[in-house]
Assembly symmetry: C2
Amino acid sequence: MSPRTEAANQQIRKERQRNILDAALKLFAIKGLSATKISDIAVEANLSYGLIYHYFNTKDQIFTELVKEAMKISINVFKQGSKLPVGPLEKIKIITEKIIDDGYSGRGVYYFLLMIEAANSDIVPAEVKKFRERRKGIYHRLLTPIIIEGQRIGEIIEEEPVRLATAYFALIKGLALLYPRINLAKELPTAEIVLNLFKKKRD
Amino acid sequence: MSPRTEAANQQIRKERQRNILDAALKLFAIKGLSATKISDIAVEANLSYGLIYHYFNTKDQIFTELVKEAMKISINVFKQGSKLPVGPLEKIKIITEKIIDDGYSGRGVYYFLLMIEAANSDIVPAEVKKFRERRKGIYHRLLTPIIIEGQRIGEIIEEEPVRLATAYFALIKGLALLYPRINLAKELPTAEIVLNLFKKKRD
DNA sequence: GTCTATAAAAGGATAGAC
DNA sequence: GTCTATCCTTTTATAGAC
């Protein structure tokens, strides 16, 4: 048997890191940072306990790494949506569908749940707090202009944009929370329902 | 100094229990069950570590006790609201205001955050899981009839009641989560905004 | 690169003094 | 009723063998 090449080793290292991150993501999202034990991650990833520490220094480091990934992805959903050549309501609809359909399925829902923990918890690593502070308000800054434009052209209800945005984010957060426990086929709100939050009512 | 009477002792015991429960409620709500240490509770309640165990057997017992309180209160908000002699939309508005204004301020917001942990986490005590199972779907059962009545009389949008209810609960849950971190005066959605979720829209 | 065994630390729970 | 000191389990983190 010939020895493994360095390239092959690098490939293995990359895979293991991803294995560990995926396992940790799922567990952090469901159980939270504190309740997730390194041993849980090892079991979930089908790796030995010790190997986790071969690839990462601490549990906090894994968590921080994942938060960075999650933020990057979710911010991108909003940025991409903002650029689309469609009306404001349609932009929000597409963003919402991306979150509900793509985002919330597969790995995506875990990213969102992780974000909730990262954004709201007091017990996250210091680096996550710094990161969170730097990006403070980014989601509002991305959504509010769309809302204001929608109000300008009469598509969106005349409520304070900031409060509207907060309601929207609350709804999305709440959906991510409920997601693992509801009957998706019967109970998951459609993007249409979510969008109704923004629409003008009949007089 | 005369010895304390039994009545006075009972009074003290009652107070201490409440002290401990209030401190634990706040911490469980903010940090979660796992991340809250008994020592944290002792500090928050200004009591010695050992005294916690004089009044409660385990951390789980404290958590379970609080979940029962929280469920009772939140279910009551819906039941009281349902009885009011007003229209469906107005009922939901009053319930929502009660949650946002009363409920979410003071001790109430902590109860709601605790409920989120209790309702969604996998790591809660077995007794909480049983409790949760027994009451499964109770909130839907309380809200859905109001929605259906609202649709019958044309006040509420013609979407599937279950999905509408889920969207509403998601929004409320998300608001509770955001509550501790937003500027209430500027960012908190009004009950009017929340209600807009249910209203019929222009075509 | 991967694993098992061990050390070190943290936290839950108890005992006993006041 | 309240506190401090101690025990013991759990979990993090490291060491060293394969």
